[in-house]
Amino acid sequence: MTRNTDTGDDSGDAVADGGVAEGGQRSGFSPIAALNERFGSDFVESSQFWLPPFLLVGLFVYGAIIWNLLISLTDFRGFGTPDYGDLDLQMYSRALADSGFIDAAINTFILLVGFTLVTLALGLGLAILIDRNIRFENTFRTIYLLPMSLSFVVTAQFWAWMFNFNNGVINIVITSLGLGRVDWIGNPDIVLWAVMFALMWQFAGYAMVVFLAGLRAIPNEHYEAAKVDGASTVRMYWRVIIPQLKGSTISASVVLMVFALKAFDFLYSLVGGYRPPNGADILATKMVREAYANLNWAYASAVAITLFLMTLGIVGPYLYYQYNRGNL
């Protein structure tokens, strides 16, 4: 294997980097040794463990996203195969001219921000209640987290019934308070907020678990110090404890936003079809509907890329933040 002079040069560089401790592996100029010198002593041997999963993820996740980008540049629709010879941004300009797309994008944004805020607030409240040295802590925590273990398909059934106009729990409670019935699902101005409420019910327990871990990590001295200073409980949490939950808040927000972007399953099951209630169409539902109900594959791919960019806008900075803190 003497023809590997290039690799030999590379590995020489790697040694000069000071990265490789065992220079002794150089003997023989085999490609394996060369790779090991370049990347580290276990690189080849450990690759039997990480390489197959890595390739699977690489193909199915990253390969598919690139493929999706390509399809979004074609005019592929109906049956058959996409024609990759004629690539343009036509689908994206079509999206910008499509009022349905704009509405879905706005709804996605409202759902994203509103759902994340209310869920964080409720989750924080629950975490503080649970952390007040209570009895039956495990029971309370288990029940608060319970909805999270249910499928969107299941919770959508429950909430379709909760929001039912004539017999739903919500309207029964409202009328008993002397107010009029509300058409939660049928009114386009309200339905998005109703969906947000249902999703909050499902995910507040998740935010609680994250905040609880954050609260438990705060040293007891901080609570004691605040008490010695004579701060009231509310003031202690507001001024001393909550500011220390920055890390928990950030990671919980990112995960919740990603859940909100994926709320497709819930909306689909609420009506049992591709067309969500008027006023509740989000990019995730529009994308699937354009692809699998209307067979507008290229257009659906363009919507998907928009959704992907939104996710990237949220997750990118988060990963960078985690990387800088050495958590990756």
């Binding site: 990347f39 002593s41 276990d42 039997q48 463990f49 990480w50 999963p53 890595f54 699977l56 993820v57 199915f60 996740v61 598919a64 996203i65 493929w67 999706n68 209640l129 007040r132 209570i134 925590r141 288990t142 029940i143 319970l146 909805p147 273990s149 969107f152 398909v153 919770t155 959508a156 429950f158 019934w161 017999n167 729990v169 029964i172 019910w201 994250v210 609570y223 004691e224 008490k227 409980t233 990112v254 972007l261 994926k262 399953d265 049992g272 995730a284 699937v288 692809a291 699998y292 998907a304 890329i305 959704l307 992907f308 996710t311 949220i314 997750v315 990963l319 985690q322 990387y323 990756l328």
Partner: protein, 314 residues
């Protein structure tokens, strides 16, 4: 753990923690409010489930004529909807298990492999970081961004031919969808599995592994003899989390199996269209169906709540 510091002024309760009279013994106003808040939230989280449960046992006049959260009274009580829901969903229960269980096990194993290969072996951090970053970012990908290529991919793979021997055995060829679901769920579940195992392996004691290395044990042997046996607790977390995710997912089943009339239709796909027709909605049927579909994940949650919480918290 001295949680005492966190209760302000609740000293009466603290002084008498073992009061046999229960909650109400020696409790001040603050504690009463605290427990009222906790119980109020308990009601909030349970009422959709409770009203679903009682409704599933009501006949049509009970559904429309009684309060949604009131239990069925003598005349309106019926098992009929549960029987109907089970007839509709029974095959889905089996179909879901057919892909959820293999996909869960395979993705957990591969996740453990990947995390071990990245974490517990010596190669340069400089190159590990991007590999790891791709796994981590994979957790957050919205599946919509890969759906069209995924459909294209599976329409190009000649799965029907490869599995010809199964159809020869008399198995309905719709079940190719189950194989597609296993592979798809493994691929998209791998990132979270890898990250969960990585956080575990990073904190694993290195002494034993170092000692084994000095004895000349290969990487494969160290995994089999040391790392895998110590991974039990994390396998519990990952298996539970993955099973719940895969069982509950609708999107992939909708895209890969497509119709609820397919012989291989998973339970979530059948449930999503259950009890809705032009004549109106059969809520009792939908509720009974929801519970049947939720039973496996509920059972797992009730049995392994701690592990589930650990999985979601990471």
């Amino acid at each position: 753990m001295s949680n005492d510091a966190r209760t302000d002024g609740g000293t009466v309760t603290e002084a008498d923690p073992g009061a046999s009279a229960g909650l109400l013994a020696g409790i001040d106003g603050y504690r009463v409010l605290l427990y009222l808040g906790l119980l109020g939230m308990l009601t909030f989280f349970l009422i959709p489930i409770e009203s679903g449960l009682v409704t599933s046992f009501k006949n049509p006049s009970g559904v429309s004529g009684s309060l949604p959260f009131a239990p069925p009274t003598g005349g309106t009580f019926t098992f009929e909807k549960w029987r109907a829901a089970f007839d509709a969903l029974g095959r889905g229960l089996i179909n879901s298990a057919l892909y959820a269980i293999p996909a869960t096990v395979i993705s957990a194993l591969l996740g453990s492999f990947a995390a071990y290969g990245i974490t517990q072996s010596d190669w340069k951090q400089k190159y590990k970081a991007p590999v790891l970053a791709l796994f981590v970012a994979g957790i957050f990908i919205p599946y919509q961004a890969v759906l069209v290529p995924l459909s294209q991919f599976w329409s190009m793979v000649p799965l029907q031919e490869w599995l010809g021997f199964l159809w020869a055995l008399g198995i309905n060829n719709d079940y190719a969808g189950v194989v597609e679901l296993v592979v798809t769920h493994v691929a998209y579940g791998l990132p979270i599995c890898t990250v969960l195992f990585r956080s575990y392996y990073k904190n694993m004691s290195e002494e034993m592994i170092e000692a084994a290395r000095l004895d000349g044990a290969s990487i494969r042997r160290i995994y089999r003899r040391i790392v895998l046996p110590l991974s039990g607790p994390m396998f519990a977390v990952v298996l539970i989390y993955q099973f719940t995710q895969i069982w509950n997912d609708l999107l992939f089943t909708l895209v890969l199996v497509q119709t609820e009339s397919s012989a291989a239709a998973p339970i979530v796909l059948i449930l999503a269209g259950l009890g809705t027709s032009l004549e109106g909605q059969d809520f009792a049927l939908r509720m009974a169906g929801a519970f049947i579909a939720a039973l496996p994940t509920l059972a797992v949650y009730i049995a392994f709540g701690e592990e589930f919480a650990e999985g979601v918290a990471t």
